[in-house]
Amino acid sequence: MRDQDRDLVHLFVRDLDEIELPPRDRWRVAARKESLVMKASRYVLYATAIAAVLVVALIASFALRAGNQVAASPSPTIAAVTTSPTPTPTAATASPTPTAGPAGAITGALSYPSEFIPPLTVFAVSVADQHVLFSVDTPRFGADPSSQPTAAPPGPRPSYTITGVTPGAYYVFAFRRDTFIGNDIPAVYSRFVVDCMQPYGDAQKPIPSSCPNDHTLVQVIVRPGETVSRIDVTDWNCSLPGSTCPPRPR
């Protein structure tokens, strides 16, 4: 190194070492400079974000609650029921309250003691809370009652499907939608359907007279995402003495 360079090095070191250092606590990032406006903006931003999250949560909570209470009215299905082997719902000892989770569905056959089936509203009413219900309207099936009677309603076997059912235990029944005297007697999914109509009716055999005349409603358990099938609403005899019909939901 030349002498001149050495002198310059000496000069630089001597003079620059006199530059005052910042306080030790400012050497690192901890003491970030933030103006009052920036700080206030930051707090406003945080508060806005928290408020937005709370509002969204509140809306979601109300929506969820409303979804549980309001009857869903999916469009009716006329398609025949696929009789795939599914667990036959039986009377459950517990009555699960409808809970959150993927919605299920209930499907089954319809019938009416005539050559036609009038337009119905099929209800699934929660066992635990009768205000929680789901329903579907079905159209008229079969020939007009004023026309000549036929052996059976033409086309596929009339059926219904209630979708969007919150998991839980339900009673399933149907009321006529048309104005007809006696339209407050519903069709129900009952013990009689399970024990007598399905085993014999499916086998095209006459129901034996010895079959118990039990028209008590059977609970249908809907599990998350599950479609419960063969919930046939085909028992119109709940008004017989010794039996009780469910009231028409309001």
Binding site: L8, L11, F12, L16, I19, L21, W27, R28, V29
Partner: protein, 157 residues
């Protein structure tokens, strides 16, 4: 950071801080920017530490200069801008010193290179890497800066 732990980095940073801070102040003539640049360099060191700890000063100087925005790369883009503002308090501090008067004669790029060379003792290769110029540019800039400082010194005398 397997062997280059956070604690180790903090130690190295603290050890290098006084010299690098003064060098960045001399190069930028702005103490707040120098501090901001070093804070950013410290954080970058936490995320991507230097490959070895033999020349932490050079690494910090390079990163801090880059972070100050008024570092040499920007000065290069802007041309030979950056004469010392008369009302800059940092400049005023430096101008009380002999070297401060000399540095005030130089452009930012010249200051950054001269300070790295005479104060930090970086080699031409290290300076070239630090400021992102060719090695020959470093050598030429040092010569030009010397001539300018000599001329200024002669005029002052």
């Amino acid at each position: 950071m397997p062997e280059f732990t956070v604690k180790r980095w903090e130690q190295l940073y603290d050890r290098a801080f006084p010299q690098v801070y003064r060098a960045v102040v001399a190069a930028t003539l702005d103490r707040e920017r120098a501090l901001d640049g070093l804070h950013d360099a410290f954080e970058e060191g936490l995320r991507h530490p230097p490959s070895d700890d033999r020349n932490v000063e050079g690494w910090l100087y390079r990163v801090a200069l880059r972070k100050t925005r008024r570092g040499l790369l920007r000065a290069l883009r802007e041309g030979s801008l950056g004469e010392v503002p008369a009302d800059d308090p940092s400049a005023a501090v430096l101008q009380r010193l002999e070297v401060g008067r000399l540095l005030a004669l130089l452009t930012k790029r010249q200051r950054a290179i001269v300070v790295a060379h005479y104060y930090l003792g970086l080699s031409q290769k290290e300076i070239a890497e630090a400021v992102g110029v060719r090695r020959g540019t470093v050598s030429a800039t040092v010569s030009q800066s010397l001539a300018r400082m000599r001329k200024g010194e002669a005029e002052h005398a």
